[in-house]
Amino acid sequence: MNIKMFLGRRSIIAFIFICLTGILGPVLIQGNPQDTAGAPFAYPIWWNSRNLPASADFAFNEKGCGFEWSKLPPAVFSLMGTIHADPKANVKIIWRTPRRKYILASLTGQSVYWLNLDGRDMIFKQFLGLPLIGKSVDFLFPSKGRYSLEIDGAKYADLKLSLPGQRHGLLGTDQRGRDVFVLLVYGIRTSLIVGISATVIASFLGMGFGLAAGYIGGWTDTLIMRAVDVLLSIPTLPILMVLAGIWGKGLWQIVLILSIFSWMGTSRSVRSLILTVRESPWIEGLKALGAKRSYILWRHLVPETAPILLANIALGVPGAILSEAGLAFLGLSDPRLISWGRMLHEAHSFGAFTEGAWWLLLPPGLGIVLLCLIFMDIGRYLEEQIDPRLGGGGRDA
Amino acid sequence: MLDVRDLTVRYKSRGNYIDAVRGVSFTIAKGTFAGLVGESGSGKSSIVTAALGLLPESAEVSGKIEFDGTDILSMNEEEKRSLRWRKISLVPQGAFNSFTPVITIGHHIAEVLKLHMNMDAKYAEERTERLLEEVGLPASVKKRYPHELSGGQKQRAAIALALACDPSMLFADEPTTALDVMTQAGILKLLKEMQEAKRLTVLFVTHDLQMAATICDRLLVMKDGFLVEEGSPHEIITNPKHSHTKDLVNAIL
């Protein structure tokens, strides 16, 4: 096999790129992916529509801050930090809009105040005299113009005004405000780990059973093949659902469950290969020379199966990835684990459709599709290498 | 009955040309049992395929094949189809998978009867039984599937099928290949009987000169696409003129 040509294939390059992103991404990205990064259901930052504001954060001190605002109101108004003042002084926090001013807080009697004002709080709305139903940001940001925040009577302050906008991040945010792009990168690991390990385990199981059936023959063969037939007749997804629901939804449980139900195909191929090779002259020759059965098995038959195994692995990974994604989509995966299937589940169950949040659907879905296509291409390439007839033979005269 | 003039058939295969038939001309008079003898690759089967108008699109043909005065090669598909089986039919090679596996023998026969002779179902069934009996098979064969019959039985059924629409000309392309000697003899005898009874013109294609000499009135010898010699069996065997014919004769004697 020509290594250079292999590495030059687009699918291999894409695969390496994805692996690197999956490994390095979590290292390079700061912060916890599970943290709320912005407003819920924020659009991607490059989405150009209806003057949606991007997220804006302002860190400032007792001198206050001011800025121009020309877009629609942000999703959230959040003011946090500390203010130091003389206990006898009356500290006022004033929010000036182009229309009027609001006194956000009037504090006295302490030397240090810890602030956590959120425009969504009922108490906040009540304090400002705003209607309790509806968004306070609509009132706090009535129009385009100049806005400012002033602190009266403080010695010093260390504050941050967070205005998560309706646009945030490369790929928007989900229902909890988590950055979708970050989730996407973290999800690479899950898909690859589950996909590859489940298939590898299944392939070894398949090889084991195939070898046993083909080489030992007799009752072992019949038994194993009957088992294969029965297992193939059981509807896959329901049994996976039952197992996941009952045994647990953890990563390695899912891997095991997937392996148990995908070794059948490989075992059949291995078995038929062994059956053909078993009768071949050179095996007969080895037996005549006095070679032991175990020697023939390990030193000759097993290496024969290696190419099939490799191709089967590459072609089996998409199936495993899809099964994991399917289970996760149904909700049967570890909620603490970030996976693309889980992202689709949350999109489906937590309102992405009512919000029209397509950015919660397309990235994880397309990621799954991409991985599947990559492995299918690799698998087909390996198959062609093993059996050159398949490569050009597809063209019928 | 059959007048072949300057027939050339070439197949195109991956950029190369294979000359199967090179400028072959011969005439077969009505009522003759003629034999076309040659090794594999001599072009004999291509002549049969060409006469039935069944050459693949990739084949290049030139020349004329005149059947009863009309050139088959210049006919369109409609005309060819009306000719097939009604006027010219074929008994294929013994090893040929010539019957559709999921359809009964009777159905095969009834199908052509309905199509070419416009028979209704009842009459077609009667005729099917008669045809089978004529070739020495029990009428119950009509309900059998091809895989249930032995090689010899299948060939007899193929003959019955070939004669179903009362054709005037019959091609028999190596009909006894893959059959054992006893069965071969039976099939040959049957063919001869049918030809005499129905006054058919037969072109019997084979690689076996001895077999052809036994039953044919006239022999045509082919090699590598050329027609190298023709004559009566007696002439050919006792006085072969071409070197290839001499080789073939020597192989028998």
């Binding site: 029965v230 007749s233 329901p238 049967l332 459709f353 599709v369 | 359809i103």
Partner: protein, 325 residues
Amino acid sequence: MNKSWLLRRIFSSLAVLAAVLVLNFLLFRIMPGDAVSTIIDPNFSPEAKNRLRALYGLDRPLIEQFFIYIKQMLTFRFGLSFLSRKPVWDELMSRLPGTLALMSSSMLLSSVIGIWLGVKASLNRGRWIERMVLRAGAVTASFPGFFVQLVLLMLLARTFPLFPLRGSMSIPQPAGTSAIIFDYIWHMTLPVITLTLMGFGGWALYVRNLMVRTMGEDFVLMARARGLTERQVVYGHAFRTILPPIITIMLMSVPGLVSGAVITESVFSLNGVGTFLLAAVSGHDYPSAGAAFYLLALITVICNFLADVAYGIVDPRVRIEAGNK
């Protein structure tokens, strides 16, 4: 029909069923703790749980439980659902028609469209329809169907609100039978269309390959030699010969069909056996989960058996012993 062949088919189906039953039993009995202790429903007091344990016979030895279980499964008495307290049988039966309708309509459409395309592709070698079939077959094979369904749902129910977002009927139900029927069809269009979309490619490719191979066979040439019309040759002989393998993939596609239906029901929030199984499994409702799984496996086994029988009807080589001379 050959009796021994039929008997062998029945026996093999029963073997699968037996395996499913044993598997089902073991699954729910050998996990840590016992079924009742893991009930999440806070309304169950410890006394109630003990009573439930006794009711389900969970305090009896395992062998005895097994026989009780077999008897229950064979008589379809599944007990009460842990979650809804209603008889599981009723719950399943109310949902079964919907699931069956979804599965059978998409199977029908996929196969009919796929077969038609496959035949057309094989007759038009090298033209666009063949290329389309080849590509569609390769793509739909390893593609996350539920992603396509989600995208189409978003596109056709939210971006362009042509279809409903969820459910199999509107709430409240419209008045009049024809309005109800129309409403049902409107709700089921997207699920059925998307399931069909995922399935037709495989059919088309398989049929195309079969036809291409068969059209090159000797007996097809002979059929032409007999002066049969092209139509008779293609449909009466070539296609007729590939019917048995077509039945085979109908057989092989049933487990996939069940899985597809489960996912589709989830995506479109339909009230079917699949969503019932999901809820039961997520909520540790063992009677319901076991029964739902059993039902789905039963459907699979029955469909496989029917396909086997149909294969035998259609391919005489299978049911008539070769060599009757």
